[in-house]
């Protein structure tokens, strides 16, 4: 067994960190507070080829895989700039289009995803179907050589920033799932902002599809194979989500360690008190454990091995670690922990959200109970 990181990966971490550092926490917190896209960071990452690490070279990408994409997510977050939307644009949409997209779809969308200039977001969740995808009701009917979509989606991130969305809808008599590329300005598609109290650069949307007409060429992959195809993107989403959490935890802990080493209340740094130090040490341990599982999951996926169990465990561990790290960092800062000037709450909110999305903690525990332990299923 060999745990040394390759030169390329060390260099990749350093280079991504160097690009994200000048943006950092101040830039991110400002955009998260205002709910505005981190455009400059997207462009900087795209220009250096880091947004498109997992896009094949023939489409202007880096030709790497999920291991590299996860490193990018971790390192931007570790500099205080965790871009949540990368989880859908690059971990889901790019992975699915590379694997199942037609030649024309790949040519149209992958170069823009690689340069960080164009986005394809992802729409599966519905008011009646979050954890339970069996309840999805959005439908695409075949009418002549067109598809006609009706239904509703919610909590869809970044629709205003994206030119298209990858839609999961039912098709055919059997109502199997299929995937479609839908332009975000398609006639009949109504988008309304779904306000959330978590500070995020990305806005969330409720989408109404009222007889939205799509050309036959909008179908991604095979009709009725949507379930299997979506799964090709869900593990990457969980793995990059885990990587983002590891980065958030690293950022929170480095801020907390600095503060605890400098702030004096009783004539010595507060980090001297174990009440302050131990929660940080515990979160550090949990972060390192989660980081290991995240790397394993990314490696399994990239090498074509089953990655479901590792991806779920990584997502669970990393979200818990990030939340514990943010919570301990805020506590370490005392009153300053909630001050805008210190900008810690946006990370707590993001980590809290990542316990729920893209897959919630309970569904991960269900997966492990059922698949890893062979326990009966409750639902």
């Amino acid at each position: 067994m060999d745990f040394t990181e390759s030169d390329e990966h060390r260099d990749l971490r350093a280079a991504v960190g160097a690009i994200a550092a000048p943006f950092g926490g101040a830039y991110y917190a400002e955009h998260a507070r205002a709910g505005t896209e981190c455009t400059e960071l997207w462009h900087a990452l795209g220009d250096a080829g880091f947004a498109g690490v997992n896009v094949p070279e023939e489409y202007g990408g880096g030709g790497g895989g999920l291991v590299e994409l996860a490193l990018v997510c971790e390192e931007i977050a570790a500099q205080g700039a965790p871009i949540l939307l990368l989880l859908v644009t690059h971990a889901i949409s790019a992975e699915v289009l590379v694997e199942y997209g037609t030649d024309a779809q790949r040519k149209e969308w992958l170069p823009g995803l690689a340069s960080g200039r164009r986005k394809v977001v992802f729409a599966i969740t519905e008011p009646g179907a979050g954890s339970n995808t069996h309840k999805l009701t959005t439908r695409a009917r075949r009418v002549g050589d067109e598809w006609v979509v009706t239904g509703e989606k919610y909590y869809i991130s970044g629709v205003d920033e994206a030119e298209a969305l990858l839609l999961v809808a039912r098709t055919g008599d059997e109502g199997q799932l299929s995937l479609f590329l839908v332009p975000t300005d398609a006639p009949g598609l109504q988008k309304s902002v779904l306000p959330v109290d978590v500070m995020l650069p990305e806005k969330q949307f409720t989408l109404h599809f009222d007889e939205v007409r799509l050309p036959a060429s909008a179908l991604v992959g095979e009709e009725g194979q949507g379930f299997r195809q979506v799964f090709h993107g869900l593990n990457p989403e969980r793995i990059t989500g885990a990587a983002l959490c590891v980065g958030i935890a690293r950022y929170a802990l480095s801020r907390a360690a600095r503060y605890a080493g400098e702030r004096e209340v009783w004539g010595k740094p507060i980090g001297t008190h174990q009440g302050v130090a131990h929660p940080l040490a515990k979160a550090k341990i949990e972060t390192e454990l989660a980081a290991l599982m995240t790397r394993k999951a990314a490696w399994l996926h990239q090498h074509g091995h089953p990655a479901g169990e590792a991806a779920n465990m990584a997502k669970y561990g990393a979200a818990e670690a990030a939340l514990a790290a943010c919570d301990a960092a805020i506590q370490t800062h005392g009153g300053n922990g909630v001050a805008q000037e210190f900008g810690l709450l946006p990370y707590w909110g993001l980590a809290r959200l990542l316990r729920i999305a893209p897959v919630n903690r309970e569904m991960v525990l269900n997966f492990v109970a059922q698949h890893s332990l062979g326990l009966p299923r409750s639902y």
Partner: protein, 261 residues
Amino acid sequence: MNIVVLVKQVPDTYSERKLSSGDHTLDRDATDAVLDEIDERAVESALQLKEANDGSEVTVVAMGPDRATDAIRKALSMGADKAVHLSDEAIHGTDAIGTAKALVKVLGTLEGTDLVLAGNEASDGRTGAVPAMVAELLGLPSLTHARELTVDGGTVTVRRETDDGVTVLTAELPAVVSVNEKINEPRYPSFKGIMAAKKKPVTTLTLADAGIEPSDVGLSAAWSTVTESNPKPPKSGGEKVEDEGDGGSKIAAFLVGQKLI
């Protein structure tokens, strides 16, 4: 055009730098090591010249311990084509003159060099003398402290900026140019650059390979000797000025006292 860039791996300026207790040389293990910031700009200059002149090649030359390969890889991942690394235990403690002599020998292993680029000083030693010494030993024109650099046919022109003023220098190639920290903003290594770097040729030379006399390098050949060193004292509390309507003049008096104004 064949461009050679002299690069050095130095301790990260953000980390605390220490001298080793034994021979008072830099304790390289105590700090993170990075490609010198000004050398990164020299590499950037070389890459810009390469991009403007078809068929050019950029070679980086580094002298330093094994781990200097990290700094070399950074230059390669930015886009340099190949590297030569002089790596030999015996170069430990070499002074500026010995460094210049050794670099000249390494440069001698490369054919058809048109332009040698370097940073005007390294952030660790800060002697700022090596580029000029290299030029002197090679018998080439030396154009130091370049803020701007252009090559037109066989002529190199630099805008030299120092505290003494601005001078425009021109010379025929081949020549040695050292650049200052204002010449450009170095590019970030791209993902493709990082993946390609590992496959680019790096020639590792020992003293013997490069034909360097052991008596010209190392601590024992250095012209100066450090007999004693002390860490700099911690920052003191400073002086607090209470403003009772006369804050401005008190600050002015303080600055005059420090001979700052």
